[in-house]
Amino acid sequence: QQPVQSPQAVILREGEDAVINCSSSKALYSVHWYRQKHGEAPVFLMILLKGGEQKGHDKISASFNEKKQQSSLYLTASQLSYSGTYFCGTESSDWNTDKLIFGTGTRLQVFP
């Protein structure tokens, strides 16, 4: 089942902060975060694993609440380059593969 992302869209001024949430109805093994700019392919941001392991960029942080089956992506001191659509991809604990189900996305626009 497709994870639900909130909010659907965010508008920020440079330097402001934002939080993007991803919620699943299934028990999760991992959550992946990607950013996609218009007309381009998605680009990797972060992976969070059950048990606390993480891999990602230094300037972006995220959390994974396994009990609530939720993840949040924290964008602090936003820059113009942060604009794009953010997708979470969830891997269910039902199958331990790299099969990700992506959310509907959160569109982020950062203005000067």
Partner: protein, 117 residues
């Protein structure tokens, strides 16, 4: 490394025609995926492969077929194209080791924009 390459970049098909979307990766990744993305929507998994000779269905496999005869290549075949298959198609690859719990990131190709009229 070229990463993940896809051909063609654009294609217009008539209803009922068939075609193959090509995907190649040079990173020696064991996992490969095909996604479709409709305008303003998220990514839907069509098929994926965990290694040469092994493929499995994703969320939306109807109307598509795949094969994985080599580690590098993962072509997607559309039979009897329909307007509902108008979309942008992304191929991706990743590496996953059976020895660690760490899941590696997926690397996406530039996409193929397909229109069926």
């Amino acid at each position: 490394n070229a990463g993940v390459t896809q051909t063609p970049k654009f294609r217009i098909l008539k209803i009922g025609q068939s075609m193959t979307l090509q995907c190649t990766q040079d990173m020696n990744h064991n996992y490969m995926y095909w996604y479709r993305q409709d305008p303003g929507m998220g990514l839907k998994l069509i098929y994926y492969s965990v290694g040469a000779g092994i493929t499995d269905k994703g969320e939306v496999p109807n109307g598509y077929n795949v094969s994985r005869s080599t580690t590098e290549d993962f072509p997607l075949r559309l039979e009897l194209a329909a307007p509902s298959q108008t979309s942008v198609y992304f191929c991706a690859s990743s590496y996953s080791s059976i020895w660690t719990s760490m899941k590696d990131e997926q690397y996406f190709g530039p996409g193929t924009r397909l229109t069926v009229t």
